[in-house]
């Protein structure tokens, strides 16, 4: 529960610091906001690890086909990384770069999920009377 106070505190301090630094050195203000975001993410990693432990439990209890296990984890991982990188890029002003990073993430997720789509089609083909 203390982490929410830490997060609020870090966010507010970062905002004030950017306000102070921006008239003097505008580029440093961008550094500050990026670093503030990264610190908040560090604080959240513990909680995310707990959530993923629960994910593991659900996977193993409900007997989902174990080939999906790795795919779902990788999709979530790529989703997080790409989203954070894209927001850092657009913070520093390169909107086109962030769009390209998002595009890269989408394509990689699609490639990882292709086996599932092909197997759905294969199942349906097998069920139809030849």
């Amino acid at each position: 529960m203390d982490s929410i106070y830490k997060i609020i505190g870090i966010a507010l301090i970062t905002c004030i610091a950017t306000l102070i630094v921006k008239p003097i050195r505008p580029d440093f203000a961008i550094f500050l906001s990026v670093v503030g975001g990264i610190i908040i993410l560090f604080l959240l990693i513990d909680y995310m690890a707990n959530v993923f432990d629960v994910f593991n439990e659900i996977f193993h209890i409900t007997n989902i086909n174990s080939s999906i296990y790795g795919i779902i984890f990788k999709i979530i991982g790529v989703g997080y990384l790409v989203e954070f990188t894209a927001s850092i890029c657009s913070d520093t002003g390169n909107h086109s770069l962030s769009d390209k990073v998002l595009l890269g993430g989408k394509i990689i997720i699609l490639v990882m999920a292709l086996p599932i789509i092909t197997s759905i089609l294969e199942i349906v083909m097998d069920l139809l009377p030849s």
Binding site: I58, N63, I64, G70, I72, I109
Partner: protein
């Protein structure tokens, strides 16, 4: 009937997982995209038992890479490793509580299976020291005490013990 209930359970699991993932992934275009992908995954989980119902077998390993099996192995391996460490620490603290100090206990086990399979216990008696509250300050007394403690652990029954006397 157990096959059908396992199938329903897996559908419920996939739906719960998709909802959780929508919660925790940050807002943006990726979120909309992963929603589509998770709908495909749910469709797959719903459809997958149907071929066995119709009598035809489908082999999924053609498309899925085998890197997933290492993920499974890592998870089980870590769970077994934690269990093993817990057993070793308990054993060590029981021995020091009785008054036998400086005995090193190491347990070899097969960590790569579904259950932790304990193979052998090595007890190193070379640096042994007895504190004052222990009677029979010799190796025979120590071995008896050690065997008595080991028999109290349910997971260590019938395991071969090897002593290093130096």
């Amino acid at each position: 009937m157990s096959g059908i209930s396992a199938w329903l359970l897996s559908i419920a699991g996939v739906v719960i997982l998709s909802v959780l993932c929508e919660f925790i992934l940050p807002e943006g275009q990726i979120n909309r995209y992963t929603r589509v992908i998770f709908s495909f995954v749910t469709l797959f989980v719903i459809i997958s038992p149907l071929p066995t119902l119709f009598g035809k077998e489908i082999d999924f390993s053609k498309w899925f890479t085998t890197s997933d099996t290492t993920l499974q192995e890592n998870y089980l391996y870590n769970i077994n490793k934690n269990k093993l460490n817990a057993i070793q620490e308990d054993l060590q603290s029981e021995l020091t509580r009785l008054g036998i100090n400086n005995v090193e206990v190491s347990i070899t086990a097969n960590l790569y299976g579904e259950e932790l399979e304990i193979l052998k216990i090595y007890v190193d008696l070379r640096d042994i020291e007895f504190s004052d509250n222990f009677e029979n300050k010799n190796t025979i007394g120590a071995k008896n005490a050690i065997e008595e403690i080991i028999s109290l652990f349910p997971s260590l029954q019938d395991v071969e013990i090897e002593y290093k006397d130096g």
